[in-house]
């Protein structure tokens, strides 16, 4: 049976099947469909607009008092919530609301974290802030962004709980790594970070039919999207050190066998690709593949393990994957011809 070719056809077919009552109202007229690249463009634009807005407010009102910054932040967040709430079925004010929301989040974070140096407190505060936004803002884009940032904050939270560190280490902690090299803590942090995330993403993907039938769908969909984006990209922040180490930046950097960690990040991205396929999301699938290739480039540049060893690893992994893939395909063909 071929798939119904439109929303109306789908609803009609559901009516015929008795899933929808015969006298039920017609399908929603205004479709909420928004391709992934449009959502991405709007999200990025809203994010940058929020930064401009906050800079404008900060410079115009010469905010020096922490309380004033906090009040402004809460006011911006409340305005964003009000705009989202009153404009729930349209998109016109969404962008303004997103910009206000981003500016408000930055202001509130600034109030709480302006003088804080502890990486643990910074990541925990940001995680709480993002979770509040996730559950309070009545908008899918805002929730998806919050879920992504919450995932990233979680990665850092576990990192700082297990391994300690300061705010500056969030972006480049290689110096710290050199002082506190310890593979055990890195492995524990990685497992603590990703096992719950993998389980959550897998469960949400497999149980889609369950939560779609529940009001929780308004949270579950953005959480799943944010999780998959975080799984694709976030491996970077859970590796032994946070350092992009591309090109000349990596010269002279010695990282021992822990330089192999990007392979785990590739595995996370491929799991994300698998979930994206289950959800038929080309956007998430493409992002996962892009992230996997980025992790592969990083793997090349992370010295410590020789390129010869890396070459052997890639050749063996390649042969293994190719072999398994060929076997699965042959079994499929055999099953198809037998049928």
């Amino acid at each position: 049976m071929s798939a119904p070719t439109s929303l109306e056809n789908l609803v009609d077919t559901l009516r015929v099947r008795g899933v929808i009552a015969a006298d039920a109202p017609p399908s929603p007229e205004e479709s909420v469909h928004r391709p992934w690249f449009v959502a991405m463009m709007l999200g990025l634009a809203g994010w940058f607009a929020g930064i401009f807005l906050l800079a404008f407010i900060g410079l115009t009102f010469e905010l020096r008092s922490g309380v004033a910054i906090f009040v402004i932040g809460i006011a911006l967040l409340a305005s964003a919530w009000a705009l989202y709430y009153t404009d729930r079925q349209a998109v016109f004010l969404d962008q303004l609301a997103l910009a206000l929301s981003i500016a408000g989040q930055c202001a509130v974070a600034w109030y709480f974290l302006g003088d804080v140096e502890s990486g643990l407190i910074v990541s925990a505060t940001l995680l709480v802030l993002q979770l509040i936004v996730l559950f309070v803002m009545p908008n899918k884009t805002a929730r998806t962004l919050a879920a992504l940032f919450a995932t990233i904050a979680w990665v850092y939270l576990v990192r700082f709980v297990v391994r300690g560190g300061e705010f500056d280490d969030m972006f480049d902690d290689f110096g710290r790594y050199n002082r506190h090299a310890g593979s055990g803590s890195v492995l524990i942090a990685w497992l603590l970070t990703w096992v719950p995330m993998l389980f959550a993403a897998g469960w949400l993907t497999q149980r889609e039919n369950t939560w779609m039938a529940h009001d929780l769908r308004v949270f579950a969909r953005p959480i799943l999207t944010g999780l998959l984006l975080g799984l694709s990209l976030g491996g970077l922040a859970s590796e032994p050190f946070v350092k992009l180490a591309f090109g000349m930046d990596s010269v002279g950097v010695q990282m021992s066998w822990l330089a192999l960690f990007p392979l785990l990040s590739i595995a996370l991205a491929m799991f994300s690709a698998w979930c994206a396929f289950q959800l038929r999301s080309h956007g998430l699938l493409g992002f996962a593949v892009f992230a996997a290739l980025m992790h592969l480039s990083r793997f090349y540049y992370l010295y410590g393990t020789s390129l010869m060893w890396k070459s052997v690893i890639m050749l063996c992994l390649g042969a293994l994957m190719l072999g398994v893939g060929v076997v699965i395909r042959k079994r499929l063909s055999y099953g198809g011809s037998a049928a």
């Binding site: 789908l10 559901l14 039938a213 969909r221 493409g286 395909r329």
Partner: protein, 338 residues
């Protein structure tokens, strides 16, 4: 053409729409199951295994290719120069033989030719590494793209086409950005009329022309997602040239008109064919960025009010762009369903 990717404006319901129906009709989990099945929104076991096989096979080939590149980069001193070249050449010949025995579209043939394409680049890198030819890195990538083109055509595979397009654009990006003067290409192009911005807008047009060629020829090896990489590359360079022109680094007055012309032809084609809104989104994205920089330039950041203006401009232009795109997508999908 056999296997040509159908336009992505297939009016199948998206996840957001399925959520909308589930909410509107208050479907239970069995109702949602039926809806997902009818909409073909969840892959069945066979499709899932097919995807798994595809992911593993392509991942395996990419890993093997990475292994070859890493091997060359390792510059292993235990093998003499002759041996290193010999190994790569044997691999190249083996790939060629395999492609002859199992020619494309068989997977083995396609994969062998993909590996041959990567090995060609590795051989060029090894040549440069061994003999210190003094060639710039963009020349390596450009030579790779040119020598690899016949192999890519023979492979007739989307993965090879995407890799070739990326190598070509990497070469052009390195040429435009990393090395503004010097080298063979600049000896040909680096005279008075060809300042860097002109070259960058030229690269934009190279990508636009390539995109049009692929749109008209409709090759199986260049499906929609590869063409999207092409048009994205075009307007990544276009945005770069536009921003440089706006901040007065471009010497030629033709940069912005050339960019506008590229935008216009792509928009006109996309609107006429009504297949895909992605090119429209890329053009609008480029417009938003270049116009934002232009606004910052003309206001000269005289005071903090400019920041508000930029925020409002971003919100306004992105909102309008989003509405245009969402409306166009819905209209085309509805027309496709009719």
């Amino acid at each position: 053409m056999r296997g040509y990717t159908p336009p992505p404006m297939q009016p199948k319901p998206s996840r957001a729409e399925l959520d909308q129906i589930a909410e509107h009709y208050e479907l239970g989990s069995e109702g949602v199951d039926t809806m997902l099945e009818l909409a073909e929104a969840r892959p069945d076991a066979e499709t899932t295994r097919d995807f798994l096989a595809g992911m593993l096979r392509i991942g395996g080939i990419l890993s093997l290719a990475a292994g070859v590149v890493f091997f060359v980069a390792a510059n292993w001193s235990d093998i003499e120069v002759f041996g290193r070249f010999g190994l790569l050449e044997i691999l190249l010949v083996a790939c060629g033989v395999l492609a002859l025995v199992k020619p494309p579209p068989a997977f083995a043939g396609r994969a062998a030719l993909f590996l041959a394409f990567v090995t060609t680049g590795a051989l060029l890198a090894l040549f440069g590494q061994t003999y210190q030819t003094g060639a710039d890195i963009h020349e390596l990538f450009l030579s790779w793209a040119l020598l690899g083109l016949p192999i890519t055509i023979l492979a007739g595979w989307s993965v090879s086409s995407a890799a070739w397009l990326l190598v070509l654009n990497l070469a052009l990006a390195l040429f435009c950005g990393w090395h503004p003067t010097g080298g063979l290409l600049w000896a040909m192009l680096g005279w008075r009329r060809f300042d860097p911005t002109t070259i960058i807008i030229g690269v934009t047009w190279i990508n636009v022309v390539l995109w049009f060629v692929f749109e008209f020829v409709k090759l199986e090896a260049v499906p929609e997602w590869v063409r999207r990489i092409g048009i994205s590359s075009a307007f990544a360079f276009g945005t770069w040239a536009g921003v440089l022109a706006v901040v007065d680094k471009g010497e030629s007055p033709l940069i912005l008109p050339a960019l506008v012309a590229a935008m216009a032809v792509v928009l006109a084609y996309a609107l006429r064919t009504r297949k895909d809104i992605y090119p429209i989104a890329v053009v609008l994205g480029a417009f938003i960025i270049v116009s934002l920089v232009w606004l910052g330039k003309v206001t000269r950041f005289k005071d903090e009010g400019v920041l508000l203006l930029l925020a409002v401009w971003l919100i306004g232009t992105s909102t309008i762009a989003g509405r245009i795109l969402a409306h166009t997508a819905r209209r085309w999908r509805a027309a496709g369903a009719a």
